[in-house]
Every structure is written in structure tokens, then in C-alpha cells.
Symmetry: C2
Amino acid sequence: VSGAPVVVLAGGTGGAKLARGMLDVAGDDLVVVANTADDVEVHGAHVSPDPDLVTYWLADRIDERGWGLRDDTFAVMDGLRELGEDVWFNLGDRDLAVCLQRAERLAAGRRLTDSLRELGRAFGVRGHVLPMTDDPVRTRVKAEGTWWPFQEFMIRRRGQGPVEDVAFDGIEHAAVPPEVLEAVAGARALVIGPSNPVISIGPILAVPGMREALAAAAAPVVAVSPIVDGAVLKGPTEAFLAWAGQTMDAPGIAATYGSLLDGVVTDEDVELPVPALRTDTLMADAEGRARVARETLDFALALAR
Amino acid sequence: VSGAPVVVLAGGTGGAKLARGMLDVAGDDLVVVANTADDVEVHGAHVSPDPDLVTYWLADRIDERGWGLRDDTFAVMDGLRELGEDVWFNLGDRDLAVCLQRAERLAAGRRLTDSLRELGRAFGVRGHVLPMTDDPVRTRVKAEGTWWPFQEFMIRRRGQGPVEDVAFDGIEHAAVPPEVLEAVAGARALVIGPSNPVISIGPILAVPGMREALAAAAAPVVAVSPIVDGAVLKGPTEAFLAWAGQTMDAPGIAATYGSLLDGVVTDEDVELPVPALRTDTLMADAEGRARVARETLDFALALAR
């Protein structure tokens, strides 16, 4: 980080796309704080879906399918299937290499923060991907009376609501890494990416000390709404907003963040409790991602004046 | 096992080739007891080189390079290298799937015996591959004053002697699995495969109770010499025989097994302390493997009369 950081809180694809756009705008100053409550251990690997999604986007190596590495192969998963394994979580071979190395690092007592930094360097990534915490936090979702580990809810149950409850196991014992506290305190802008506010951004904000750090920071906090043209491009946002008692619109998004928010970026022409930037929030290509990122950063910096 | 078992003790390639030949001769009655002291944990996987070598040979899926699965790819190892890992132990992707599944099974408290049975079934293998023990035993080799874990001695040091000492860590706490005891006790022939007598067969015989079980069995014990045409086709046998104070010939091989032995199969025309079958022991192709296996079995059965 050469100048004051631009911090982006990111969950899945929406946050990762905004982060990629922000890399064009902020370069080395970009610091992404990624949700780790979706992490899962499978086949000896430690999978960190959200941080890796961001890293693969920043490295321009994200596959067209929307996850994993471009041109990856799936020989190990095919092999496990031949062996009769129930391969419910699919992982490419090079993606698996990333997650096997990470599992070894963590087993040796290293921090997830260090493992993500090492991955970023190996992939030649500018900008910095930090985990919301180095401590284990796992999202569970209750649907039809059954508690599901998050990835199983998304994959085995295909994200099917209605959502009856949400829990972030381990959150009360989690701490914000010092690198995140430092970036937030020194940031020129704090951007909540267009990710699911309940299960992607929710865990980040629920790490003890995170809300306080964001509220205490000098920089404004602006959220980019994940709702584009009235819908969410990916993932079961509506079911989770409904559980949270919020509407599937920019006011609903703003309400989930409450007093933390200094501004909202949205394509909706609606009343909001905070200043809003109304713009096209579709990030269909590199140009769109950079445009939304630049407009968001300019909006945040204007609020800071 | 439908009839009385034909038990083959096997280490690396020589033992595996004889086992493959014996499959043609004994079919379902084949029971291979494999060395597990070369096992190694890498990248979250539990690699059992000798049992897997035998299984891949029995399944007719051994690769021409002499280890691993035919037509396997190496994407995960390539990925680990890109991440800066020191990939000293190479493992194909499907081979890795086998070893990741095994690591998960063992971590869940399952026995190696059960994991090898499951692998044999998944690969449609006739015959049975059993580990010498379900307990962890690890060979270490001392050379130039340094103790090496066995695989590192073989790969990093390229098996370079002179060998100053050999240890089988954990052997005193290891037990022979009941399946092995049962097969040995009921066998019609007990064959020591043409593997390194010190570091491949040595650990098998060193499991407490194994020598006693072989000695108490009704069936004769015959060893096939790994020395073919005065040389060993694969591996550093001479350095280990030298450490054991034995010569690199059939008498040296016989001496390492001592009173356990009822007969030797060798291509050498030499004096031996036990009855010998003199024959061409080269197993260059399927026909050769089946011929050596059949001659060895006939020789053993004749000794039993």
C-alpha cells in the first residue's frame, strides 16, 4: 500500500468484480477484506471461496464459469468420483493445489492472512486480499427445520429458502487481523461491495471489533447495492433479506447496514436515509467494472469533504 | 479367497510384478502383504507407495514409467510448483485422489487394511492387497552421518549409499492385522517376492509376530531372489545388502532370511543352504511374470509334500 488504502469489503462475485474494477482505479492501494465464513474443508484442502474468488479476479485468472481458475482441469475430482466418493464440492486441480497448500500452512500454525498474501504474490496480484479474521468462523443456514453448513445449503440445497435462521459459528471468538484494522483506520474510502448483505457482508461486520473500526475510521463508508435492474445477478439474496426483515431493494440493503452507512450507490430512484449515487451498477465487462469502481470512489471521496 | 491363499510378501516393483504374475496363476486366492514402512504424508495425502504399486499392477493400470496410474496427469503438482512449493514427491492427479481419500479415511479412524480393500474394489482388482500393519511404521536410512526419511533418501539423495544404518520407526508398537495372520496360517504357499530384502521385505518381517506367524504356518516359505543376471533391476539393493553384511547374490539374499526359508528361486548356479529352483527370473512381460509365478508356486507346493 503506497497511498491511503481504498478498502473494499467483499463476499462473492459482485464484490470480487467491484474489487477488480477498483484495482484499475486504486492500484496498489486496493485492500479487499473478504468473507471467510464460507470456508470449508474438503478432501484435505482448506477452501476459502470468497478470498480466492477475489484473488482470481484480481489476477485476471477467474474462469468464465464464475469460480475457479481459467483452463483448470478436474482430474482429482474425477478420480475421487471413480473411487466412489460423494464429490458435492467441485474443485479444479490447480484450485485444489492452492487449497492443499493453504491447509498445510494452517496446520503448521500459519495465519490465513499470511497464506492469502503468499497466494497473491505467487499469482502476481497487485492490491491486497485480507481475510475478515484468522479465526475459524462458519456460516450455517436453517431451512425447513434443518441447519445446513453454508456450502451444503448452497450446493446440495441449491440455496433454496425460505431461510429460517442464520448463524456464524465461532464469530464470538474471532478477532479482526491487525492488517485489516490498520487498513481501515488509514483508508481514504471504505466500500461495502455489492455482495449479499446478510451472508457475505454480514459475517465480516459481525467479527467483534469490525463495526467499531469502520465507525471510528475517518473515511466514509459507502455501500454498492447488489440489486441491479431490480434483481440480484447471482445467489439467493432475496431469501436472506426476507429473513432479515428487509425488502429486496436499495432501502432494504441500506437498512441492513444501518448507522454504519454514509452513502449508497444504486440504480434505483428511491428515497434513502443517506446520500445516494444513482448510476448504472451493472459490471458486465472490464470497462463497466472500472466505471462503477471510479464513480463509487469519487462519490465516497466527495462525501468525505 | 476361495481356496487356500497364495501369500506374496511384496515391496516395490519386483514384488509387484511377481504378484501380477501370481494373479494369473492363483486368481482370487492371491493375497499380497505389502510393505507400508515407505508410506509418506505429503500435501494432505497419505501415500502408500508399495501397496498402491501392487494394486495398480494387479488392476493393469500401472504406468510405463514404473509407478503411478497410466495416463494420469500432474496438474496439482504443477499448481503447487507455481505456488513456490518444493514438490520433491511427485504424484499424479488420480494417484493423488487415491491418497487424499485414504488420508480422510485414516483421519476418520479407519484402518489402512479397509482403505486398501476399498481401493481394490473400486479398481475391480481380483486378489487382495493387505498392509503389513495398520500401525504407522516409517523407515529411516542413515548415510554420511545423516538420518533420512526413506522417501527423501530415495528421491532427494537418489538412494546413494553407503548405508550406515537403517531404522523402522514405530515397528515395536506395530501389530500384524488379523487378515494377514489368517491368510498366512491358511496359506498353501508363502512367497517372499523379489524385492529389496532389507528395506522392502525387512520391515514386513520386523512387524512383531510376523516371523513367528510365517514360521508356524504349515505352508513352505520360498523367496524369489531380486538379483537377475547378477544385478538388481531397480533400486539400491547392493548398498543395503552391504550394510546388512551380506553379499549381492542368492546366498546373500538367503542369508538375510535365515531359518525362515524353505527354498529359493534364483537364476544363479550356486550353493545354497536350502533347496533351490534355478530358472530365468526375468519378468519382462506378462508371459514372463506368469511363468516365474507358476514355477515358484509349483516349487513351493513340491516342497510342501
